[in-house]
């Protein structure tokens, strides 16, 4: 019986995803943001083929060269091609964003569901921990964790994920509290489904719209936080390009070689703006109150 129900839900889920996508494309802002983000994603994914130069290679005869046909975004202070570095830096930023969102949705979503589903002392303990973590601004928390762990892409992912989890836990828990009172949850409990099974097969699909909106916003926050951590020297370590590191170093040359901050800054702005607009559009599409 359960198998039959799940089989029946499959097409419904995929058709719902398509409906969300169609609604998003109908929204002019959402559509534009989606196109921009797709473009940025393509640039990042295809960076090794698009970039004319190795982002780490130093052409020591071409130090601090202004944008030209050869170096589209100019070169930095040790002769590295800024265009190649921006593309590869975006790749790292998007990778960090994707990892953070994935881990945050899995860990934060699961803890939030457990907290909301079980309630009682489990909920109390989880919420006190979450509140304690919430008292610290997420950037400060990320900075603290990253500084403790040392600079590396992996540690940036850990630091930003840990800082983002409390927000996910709170929102998912409140959504789970609503879902827990629904009849289909009661029906699943009556037929003897385990709490884990109920949470994953009945809770999670109903929480997905909320998590999608949160995820898209967290994606942008993760990219910004990675840039901020790299800017402060505890993020992506050299020589790997990172938009934040490029911005940090470029400030030294703001008067003489502005291209060192203009292009990484633009890429960062465009990526985060697109993600935030998609988040807003998703919320509009998925929230019935906004639809009205």
């Amino acid at each position: 019986m359960t198998l039959a129900v799940e089989a029946a839900e499959m097409p419904r889920r995929s058709s719902r995803a398509l409906a969300i996508l169609r609604a998003l494309l109908r929204d002019p802002v959402g559509c534009s943001a989606l196109i921009i983000l797709t473009f940025v994603l393509l640039l990042a994914v295809l960076a090794p083929w698009i970039a004319q130069f190795d982002p780490l290679h130093q052409d020591r005869r071409a130090v601090l060269k202004a944008p030209s046909l050869l170096h589209w975004f100019g070169t930095d202070d040790i002769g590295r091609d800024v265009f190649s570095r921006v593309l590869h830096g975006t790749r790292i930023s998007l990778f960090v964003g994707l990892m953070v969102v994935t881990f945050t949705m899995i860990v934060g979503g699961l803890i939030g569901m457990i907290s909301g589903y079980f309630g009682g002392w489990v909920d109390t303990i989880i919420q006190r921990v979450v509140e304690a973590l919430d008292t610290l601004p997420s950037l400060v928390l990320s900075l603290f964790i990253a500084a403790m762990l040392g600079p590396s892409v992996r540690n940036v992912v850990i630091a930003v994920t840990l800082a983002q989890i409390p927000r996910f836990v709170r929102v998912v828990r409140s959504e789970m509290l609503k879902v827990r009172g629904q009849d289909f949850i009661a029906a699943a409990q009556v037929i003897g489904a385990s709490p884990l099974r109920i949470m994953l097969t009945h809770g999670a699909p109903n929480l997905m719209p909320t998590m999608l909106v949160l995820g898209s916003l967290a994606f942008g926050v993760a990219i910004m936080t990675e840039a901020a951590l790299s800017f402060l020297g505890v993020g992506t370590p050299p020589p790997h390009p990172s938009l934040g590191t490029m911005l940090s170093h470029g400030t030294r040359f703001i008067g003489t070689a502005p291209w060192l901050i203009v292009f990484p800054g633009l890429m960062l702005t465009i990526s985060v703006l697109a993600l935030n607009l998609i988040g807003d559009a998703l919320r509009d599409v998925l929230d019935p109150r906004h639809q009205q």
Partner: protein, 537 residues
Amino acid sequence: MLERMLHYGNVLGRITPALALSASLALPGMAVAQEAPRHGGKVTINVHGEAPNFDPLASTEFGVHSRLGLALNRLIEWKTGPDIAYGQFVPKPALAESWEVSEDGLKYTFHLRPDVVWQDIAPVAGRPFVAADVVATYEAIRKGGVQKGQLAAVDTITAPDDHTVVMTMKRPNVVLLQALAHQNMWILPREAFDGGYDRNTVVIGTGPWILTQNEAGVATRYVRNPKYFGKSDAGEQLPYLDEVEILPIKDLNARIMAFRSGQIDIWFGPLNLTQMEGLKQAVPDMKDIQTVANTQSELYLNPTFKPFSDLRVRQAINLAIDRQGLGEVVRGGGGIGGVVGAALVAQTLPQEERIALYGTPDHEKAKALLAEAGFADGLTFELTVLNYGEEFVREAEWIQQDLAEIGVKAEIKMVDMVAGQALGKEGNFQGMFLMMSPFAEANEYFTTHFLKEGNRNYTGIDDPKLVEMIREQQGIADPAARQQKVWEIQRYIYQNIQNPLPIWAAVLLHPAQARVEGWHPMLTQGFPSLPEVWVTK
């Protein structure tokens, strides 16, 4: 003027266009320097560190000793002036007006100035300075001062009369004079050690200024000591300035703004060439004084990582690095590294020789050496880089590409300075790139880097012949003979040790406002040239 330019050229080693430009920019000030110095006025200096206390025996903090130097004196001082380089130690009589060394180098007799009195602050209250003060200070240092290593070779310290101090040595040590002029070796009144007053909070000295006020985070203020013994070469009473103020501005941008607005007269602390250019645009008539830093970047290759135990691999790595390109592109000036740093112009190997040994990359020869050592296909190692800031990281990236050219892959691992130093002491690294401590004497380079107990000997070097040579140079009294021995040691290290590899001594920038005259930055703390500084308006 030309002499001064040539002088700078000698001092800076391989002078870069940026430095040449700076020397020419400094020239307009020379016309003003012809004016007679005048008494009066005030200058403000920024020191980007606080003085948590004023006990010179308790701390090596530059924030403490930079402040103490205005009110205290050493037995022997660093001479300063237009003809003396930033890192050149020329002993100048201070509290000791003369000294003699016995033939065997085991007895030093210092004759103290008879006309020195302590500042009129209770409980010392202006009494005469005597030999007992020197003995009390040095004995306290030997007992528990942070600078006790400076007196490690001293056996006894006695005062046969009020104006004579005799020091006997355990072994000859010709660097004793410089040790006594070390930046932490201030002489205090004996009351500081017998409970007469709290040296953490009270500063009583014989120096050119009296410390009148120290507000943490705000300012340290001084007024002229009317009973200071110092005279200029022309016989004029020093100091020229009536007042000095030290501002503890920690934030770089705030310091820059303070200098631009004229709130700071003399800049002390980190500044890079790009920021200097910004300052020059805002303050076009400022004095642009540049020197070579008395520290340098160094690349340690740990022989516990098997490839680095082979001298040929270390030689190959040395041959791979284009230091001169690095210095020009990344640092915009400075001097090529040496076993003894470039700032110590009289002790480091001659510039041409350093360029030949360390500044002539040869990738083909490097590859051949690697092949001989069994690494024809190259090798990979983890390069731990201490985070000394953007430009330092750029140096590491530069070296990384140079090494890649000969098939050596350096995987950079960034660590903070404290963690990196701990890794170094534990020997827990394969390659390590760091900035050396500022040293003022070749002996410091040798003893810290190449003696088994040296605190910078991160690679466990223990070469009996080298140890013998280091001990020998400590006992050579004749300056020319000692210079030859110091050079010989450096050549021996190049040929047989090649660890750590010296890389580059950066350019140090010392901007000052146009109205400040007679300012000569010197590597030792305490601003030794400040008594001869005067202001035009």
